[in-house]
């Protein structure tokens, strides 16, 4: 799941101050589940914005609408009809959703209400942890299901570094477990400790350019 959190109200306020009618669009996908951009959060943010702009010389109208997913064009039909009635759109989706909305309505300014934080898992309701940096070259099979790119502060591929404390904590923070210490422990329990002796070559950090994935079965359909 993609995890996001609402931007500070002042930042959102600053983005919207020059508009008179703003449509706040919620997303029924990931940001809804992580309690940051669903239908309820749209209502709460609109209430906060109404209060924040109270006393403004020009009143601003905030309306809300939630679609099932902002990262899939199939869910936009209702929104298409609404957007033309507004000066600006505020999106409560992740960065992917905001860009998808902005691309669909190029004549309307589209603003993000959230900061997209990470790809992670739910530890409990309202408690999310980063688990993946979407590097595009997964080595979890070799590292006992612990990602060194995400969980090592230096994203070391051939760790640990010299900063691991005796009790297995990272030098960056005593609260943070050393990823390579945990990888060692788990590999040892599984009898796969030889994995740790493999030297992995430096990564090609090809995520500097926009990545596109087309499923094998659809390659012919989308061939240029």
């Amino acid at each position: 799941m993609i995890v996001g959190e609402r931007k500070p109200l002042e930042e959102i306020k600053e983005m919207l101050k020059d508009y008179k009618k703003v449509l706040n669009v919620g997303c029924g996908g990931c940001t809804s589940i992580c309690l940051s951009g669903g239908q309820r959060e749209v209502m709460l943010l609109n209430d906060d914005l109404q209060n924040a702009f109270q006393g403004n010389p020009v009143s601003i109208q905030f309306d809300g609408f939630t679609i099932e997913r902002q990262c899939n064009a199939d869910f936009f039909s209702e929104l298409d009809e609404m957007v033309k009635n507004y000066d600006a759109v505020l999106s409560m989706a992740c960065g992917a959703g905001v860009q998808f909305v902005a691309e669909r309505y190029p004549d309307r300014p589209v603003f993000p209400a959230l900061n997209t934080i990470f790809v992670g898992a739910d530890r409990d309701v309202g408690w999310y942890e980063e688990n993946c940096r979407t590097c595009g070259d997964c080595i979890l099979g070799e590292t006992a299901g612990i990602c060194p790119v995400t969980r090592c502060a230096k994203s070391l591929f051939n760790g640990p570094c010299g900063g691991t404390s005796k009790d297995g904590k990272c030098e960056v923070s005593k609260e943070t477990p050393c990823a390579w210490y945990e990888i060692y422990d788990r590999l040892k329990k599984q009898g796969r400790l030889s994995n740790i002796m493999k030297v992995r070559p430096a990564r090609e950090w090809h995520n500097q350019t926009r990545r596109v994935l087309i499923h094998e079965a659809y390659k012919q359909r989308y061939a240029k």
Partner: protein
């Protein structure tokens, strides 16, 4: 309980929404020949030992189909019941296949939109028995 959950259902608004898409949705609903091919493409149906309530056609007929049959004259318990069908029993993965070309996900989406318009949608902080997220 939020104030929205206690507000009366605005049946006139539901009727207006149903009417707006009536031609398209009625056409889609009437074209289903109950061949059950959509069922085989639904991973939830397959994962629940082919439980018929997870068949995409069943989900549509029991949600949007009933909304049309009742002409939008529904109450909150009915919408709460539909919520279970269109959110818990369907994740809108859009993988259901219909040989006739019925756009099943668009109908589930529409049912969800109607529920949302009345403040009926899943809450993560619902009690465990009601929660499906």
């Amino acid at each position: 309980m939020s104030t929205q959950e206690t507000k009366p259902i605005r049946t006139d608004e539901i009727r207006r929404m149903l009417k707006k898409k009536r031609a398209k949705m009625k056409r889609l609903l009437s074209h289903c020949v109950h061949c059950s091919l959509c069922a085989e493409s639904c991973f939830l149906y397959m994962a629940h030992d082919k439980d018929p309530q997870y068949m995409p056609s069943y989900k549509v007929l029991q949600s949007l189909g009933k909304l049309y049959r009742k002409r939008g004259k529904v109450d909150r318990p009915f919408l709460e019941h539909i919520k279970g069908i269109v959110w818990r029993n369907c994740v809108l993965c859009r993988r259901c296949y219909c040989p006739i070309g019925i756009d099943i996900p668009s109908m589930i989406t529409f049912a969800r939109t109607i529920c949302r318009s009345q403040g009926v949608y899943p809450r993560v902080d619902e009690s465990v028995s009601e929660s499906w997220l």
